[in-house]
């Protein structure tokens, strides 16, 4: 955990440096599109009061979107292609901003995120909880063996317990004896993260932060009440559908279903025998999931792949299209429901589900999801931030906007606290002992 601790901390420092310079780029590498936002931060005034979620602190001065290439299920499969796509997006955003950006904050949607709930407990040293006590407490969590090939992406202290008072979000300065913490550890596959890092480095950019995309999109799509009372955010993107659950303003669970809008497109392409590009176009123009009687008479012209348009002219009804799309969307939502059930979402006070992501734009998805998930469902558009172009205010940009919010108002993570040195030493010794046992 200590190497990760160091690397996350280095990333934090780079982010601080970027914020001091006042310029940072947001890179949302999705399966269907790559979005790049350039944020300009207002210079920090020392005497200005600290605001909560500082929406006004930054301004989007550059935004660009490009078709993603070489990404499948939110993971990079063709490095060169993806690098070119990132270059396209970054260059266009830079050009719009008129500034060069060096630091990017990226999000990863693939990599099979997995959540762990950790519990740590220590005795408070001096009666009053200090920063060091929190560090001790976080370090005392026993980390499960999540596998050598996985990396911890988030380690969020969800709530603190001081003696018998539970649900404290910030126990610093309080008097107590025993400090316990519930920590949410999120791990993802190491390989996709390494690929992403390498790809960004090849674009001459420095990574100043990395987040799971479902976390980021929940930050921008959920309103504050929903974050407080408990809600699930389902970010249905092109290749993956991310699920994240919030309660008491903290993410308590995240998962991802490796299915998304591209599967719908490929279903249309296969079912109607049309090229992928045409299928995508028909899906976005005429798609839907709730059939009505009118749809049987609604004819959709399918452009021919050949020029003999006189003879090779096909029409399908909208009902047919819905018949192809609906089962796939149902499958995705079923998977999502399975994840939600596994997470213990039903025990939360709030039961609301917010759909976001590019595929949430399918007409009728709200009703379908309501029926499938059995809960209140709404479509969540990302929060409006200053300077965001109209084209980037749709549900597909929830993750990008959420990353921007995360950059301006970062959540305290485990690595923001000083890890006690004896812990680190202890870990190192135990690792050496383990190595000896394994190799001799």
């Amino acid at each position: 955990m200590s190497t990760l601790f160091e690397s996350q901390r280095a990333m934090r420092q780079r982010r601080e440096a970027a914020l001091r310079r006042g310029l940072v780029a947001i890179l949302d590498i999705g399966t269907t599109k790559i979005a790049c936002l350039v944020l300009q931060f207002a210079p920090e005034q020392a005497d200005a009061p600290k605001r909560g979620l500082t929406h006004g602190a930054f301004r989007v001065i550059g935004a660009a979107t490009t078709r993603s290439r070489g990404v499948r299920y939110g993971e990079i499969t063709a490095m060169d292609e993806t690098e070119r796509a990132i270059r396209t997006a970054v260059q266009a955003a830079q050009k719009m901003a008129g500034m060069r950006v060096d630091h990017v904050i990226a999000c990863i949607s693939g990599g099979a995120p997995r959540s762990y709930g950790l519990i740590g407990e220590v005795q408070v040293e001096n009666g009053e909880v200090a920063e060091a006590d929190i560090g001790h407490c976080l370090a005392s969590c026993d980390v499960p063996e999540y596998g050598d090939d996985r990396e911890a992406l988030h380690a969020l202290p969800v709530s603190f317990t001081l003696d018998h008072r539970t649900g404290l979000s910030d126990p610093r300065g309080q008097i107590g004896g025993k400090l316990a913490v519930d920590m949410h550890l999120l791990t993802v596959d190491g390989i996709p993260v390494q690929n992403l890092l390498h790809c960004i480095r090849r674009c001459d950019l420095e990574l100043a932060g990395l987040a799971v995309s479902s976390y980021a999109s929940a930050l921008s799509a959920l309103v504050e009440d929903e974050q407080e009372l408990g809600a699930a955010c389902v970010d249905i993107g092109g290749g993956t559908a991310g699920v994240s659950i919030f309660a008491k303003r903290q993410m308590i669970y995240a998962d991802a279903v490796p299915m998304g809008g591209q599967h719908v497109t490929s279903d249309i392409s296969q079912g109607l025998h049309i090229p992928m590009a045409t299928a995508e176009r028909i899906k976005t123009l005429h798609g839907g999931v709730m059939a009505t009687g009118l749809d049987d008479r609604d004819l959709i012209e399918i452009p021919s792949a050949y020029d003999e348009f006189e003879s090779d002219r096909r029409q399908i009804t909208r009902a047919e299209l819905i018949g192809v799309m609906r089962p796939r969307m149902e499958e995705i939502l079923e998977e999502v429901r399975a994840r939600l059930d596994a997470s213990g979402f039903e025990y939360l006070a709030g039961q609301r589900v917010v759909l976001t992501g590019g595929s949430a734009q399918i007409p009728g998805l709200e009703q379908l999801a309501q029926r499938m998930l059995g809960r209140q469902v709404r479509i969540g558009k990302p929060l409006r931030v200053q300077g965001l172009p109209q084209a980037a205010t749709g549900t597909g940009f929830a993750a990008a906007v959420g990353l921007a919010l995360l950059a301006s108002h970062p959540q305290d993570e485990c690595w923001d606290f000083e890890m006690p040195a004896d812990r680190l030493g202890h870990r190192r010794v135990s690792r050496a002992l383990r190595w000896f046992r394994q190799n001799w």
Binding site: T66, R84, A85, R87, V90, Q94, R100, A277, T278, P303
Partner: protein, 289 residues
């Protein structure tokens, strides 16, 4: 309608890097201001240090200047002197003597003016190039107010004590008072004030002598001297005039009336008067005894 297949919009790695370099503020500043500045400076220095170029520039500029100076609008064909008496005008003309016609560009008007002002009788002068090819010289003469007697002759001074002219004899300017002694030229105003007060004695006044560069002696005929104090000499003189009015002080056979002590004037009798005074005094003493 089928989607059109577009070429790859991605920039090449080189283009991407160049674009990023161009968007770097310092690099941009350098290219936009630093580099042109450097180029221009280098070019200018290169030209300025080249001997041939410098010779050419000097020759060419001389040529152009000569061409302009030769224009008929700029020629000066006569000199007009105003505000000067005829002999001063002659002296000014002598100072300004030059070969006419001359170009106005070749004249240094400041220098000419300084030359004219350097003449003693000239208080101020204006020299300008006037219309009709004329060099107009406007002169203001100094007005002599006193004659200053020096060991080597008589000169005329104006109110500020500046020398105006020399004269051969006192009689040349009988209307002006005479002042003498070193430092007299610095206190001409004060001397004139004293002389104005001494107007009732105008027939008898021979002149003023500056003593020790600090005070005045009023010299009358019959070698009488009124020694005035350093401060408030006018009041002291008025006191003497009062005494003269009342007791005909100055009619008497005195040599010196000393007013340097403000408390009491002192008089010194001439030698024969003193003898007579002593004789009268002894006679009266004998009468008493």
């Amino acid at each position: 309608m089928l989607p059109v297949r577009r070429p790859d919009p991605a920039p090449t790695r080189l283009k991407y890097r160049l674009e990023r370099l161009w968007l770097t503020p310092s690099f941009r500043r350098f290219i936009r201001t630093g580099l042109p500045l450097m180029l221009v400076t280098t070019a200018a220095l290169g030209l300025a240090t080249d001997v041939d170029v410098r010779h050419w520039v000097v020759a060419k500029s001389g040529e152009v200047r000569a061409a302009v100076a030769a224009r008929p609008e700029l020629t000066i064909s006569r000199i007009e002197i105003r505000g000067a008496s005829s002999d001063l005008a002659a002296r000014v003309a002598a100072v300004l003597a030059m070969e006419l016609p001359v170009s106005a560009l070749d004249l240094d008007l400041h220098d000419l003016r300084d030359q004219v002002v350097a003449l003693e009788p000239v208080l101020t002068a204006r020299v300008r190039v006037a219309e009709a090819n004329t060099l107009a010289v406007q002169v203001v003469e100094r007005v002599p107010v006193a004659i200053w007697r020096m060991p080597d002759g008589l000169s005329l001074v104006d109110g500020t004590g500046a020398r105006v002219d020399t004269i051969a004899a006192r009689a040349d300017r009988a209307d002006l008072p005479v002042m003498a002694g070193s430092g007299a030229e610095d206190a001409v105003e004060e001397g004139l004030a004293i002389l104005r007060i001494a107007k009732p004695l105008a027939q008898r006044v021979r002149g003023l002598v500056r003593i020790g560069e600090r005070r005045w002696d009023l010299v009358l005929d019959r070698d009488q001297v009124i020694q005035l104090p350093e401060d408030r000499p006018a009041a002291a003189l008025m006191r003497v005039l009062g005494l003269d009015d009342a007791k005909q002080l100055l009619e008497r056979d005195l040599v010196v009336v000393d007013l340097r002590d403000g408390a009491r004037p002192v008089v010194r009798l001439s030698a024969p008067a003193l003898d007579e005074f002593n004789a009268q005094k002894s006679a009266s003493d004998e009468e008493e005894t």
